[in-house]
């Protein structure tokens, strides 16, 4: 849809914009309340149950020569992470606290598993509802087929697009009308792999859902494996979000933000 002149396009429909921001908000709360829940038992295992002496990943505080240090371990290898992981200073009083993730990263900020769980599950429901609405809209309206599925030409130019991204060359003018193939693939992986994996591994941790559908836990290699996959997939989504925000900023922050808020995108070159 053209606005004044030919250089404006209507880039994002209202449905996409609204579900995008609800999703961003939900994922923020889910991540931070998830870190709160992790703090209640900051160790990850593989298999059906917990082999307490052999976690694949753990965050703890250890006493080394009369002082506490934060230690993060993966597959037996540890690094000192005092100040952030394992041991950090908590908000107001600035006291050192033994906790896996620091208070600035968790919801609520204090150590409170019960409230963290309430936030997590309330926003899990909102996330699920919002995501379902987005998927139904995307398929019915053609947004999925038109904007997100890469064309065969797109697949062939994937290598070039990747190189352009590394060199920070971003499409301008008419080329900026559409998502590029790298962007399309990334969004598809997030929408159809990472986020569904979060839902499935999350559900696997529920003893009720495990009773409803026995193969679910086996699918992930057991409940404790599912918990580990849930954590790793969350880290992958966080990585995506960081790159996504960085790309938004370097490829025309104002124009990009405006298009995700008002829908309008200016093709005539950088405005800022």
């Amino acid at each position: 849809m053209a606005m004044s002149g030919e250089r404006w396009i209507f880039r994002h429909s209202a449905a996409v914009r609204v579900t995008h921001w609800i999703n961003a908000f939900c994922l923020t709360i889910l991540l931070m309340s998830g870190l709160q829940i992790f703090n209640a038992h900051p160790a990850l295992y593989l298999g059906k149950q917990s082999d307490f002496d052999h976690p694949v990943f753990s965050i703890s505080a250890e006493r080394q020569q009369d002082r506490l240090v934060g230690v993060t371990k993966a597959f037996g290898l540890g690094v000192t992470t005092t100040g952030v992981l394992g041991l950090s200073t908590a908000g107001d009083n600035g006291e050192e606290a033994v906790r896996a993730f620091p208070s600035w990263a968790t919801v609520p900020s204090g150590q409170d598993l019960a409230t963290g769980r309430r936030w997590h599950f309330a926003f899990a429901w909102l996330f699920l509802l919002n995501g379902t609405l987005y998927l139904v809209y995307s398929v019915v309206s053609g947004h999925m087929r038109r904007d997100l599925l890469p064309s065969s030409a797109g697949f062939r130019s994937l290598g070039r697009t990747l190189r352009d991204h590394v060199l920070m060359r971003f499409p301008k003018g008419d080329a900026a009308r559409h998502y590029n193939p790298l962007q399309q693939l990334t969004y598809l992986v997030v929408i159809f792999v990472l986020l569904p994996l979060m839902v499935l591994t999350g559900l696997t941790m529920s003893p009720g859902i495990d009773a409803f559908f026995h193969p679910l836990a086996a699918l992930h290699g057991g409940r404790q494996s599912a918990r580990t996959v849930h954590f790793v997939a969350a880290a992958a989504i966080l990585l995506f979000a960081a790159v996504h925000v960085a790309m938004v900023l370097v490829s025309g922050a104002f124009n990009n933000m405006r298009s995700m808020i008002t829908g309008n995108y200016y093709l005539g070159g950088a405005l800022e």
């Binding site: 923020t28 600035w104 598993l113 309430r118 941790m205 529920s206 003893p207 009720g208 409803f212 900023l249």
Partner: protein, 278 residues
Amino acid sequence: MNRRHFVTAGAAALSGVVVGCDRIAGTSGGGKGLHAAEWVTYRAQRILLGADKLAPEFSESDIAPHFRSNGTGDPPDKSYKLLARDHFQNWRLRIDGLVERPLDLSLSDLRSLPARTQITRHDCVEGWSCIGKWTGTPLSEILTRAGAKTQARFAVFHCADTMEGDDDSGDQAASSEGLADAKAKTAAQTLDNRVVRYYESIDLIDALHPQTILAYEMNGQPLSIPYGAPLRLRVERQLGYKMAKYVMHIELADSFATIGEGRGGYWEDRGYEWYAGI
């Protein structure tokens, strides 16, 4: 917006989320909103699970070599210690409330009833899991004998272990160091003052579920004290804190509003969900 501004703004947004969330959870409206999600989860799981869907069961080779004991490991109460000293020969389980025939059962009474053995995964609210083998009397066998009245909606489990005493917390520490008897609270002391013992409650759908048992054996041995001797509840479709240990008394009720702080359990009174199927 340059990179430094962005990082600063991001950090500010993050701390804004934390402070905002802390505030919202503290308001009655925010708290209610969060509690509504629990009801949605409960209704959804009741539709999916129905009355009979069984929790997964495992094989002997899956049994955890070191099953973690959580919560109370050794009740500080003198009355409990006296029962334990005699290997629970004088222990009785009382079943009353909204029942036609109140019961008073000894361990051998329970053992003479039909039994069920199941190897199941115990999921703690903290996140860890351990697999164990449990043998006990299905709660449905007991409720059938007692005859639940039609108004009964919940089974409430009252336990022997004192969680919070009135006088001091030193007793708990003392008992774990083996100085128990001299310093342990007496029943008389605790009843006069406000003392909080562990309790739990489940609805009758879970109470009558085939895997809901009152376990007196774990991994083929009589239940030991860290795991809830002489009798603990198993509710396999929910989290560990629902599975009350040291059960002394089962009360059928139409509401748990007047018990404890009114939220249906010791941990529920401290903010945890009453429905712990998630």
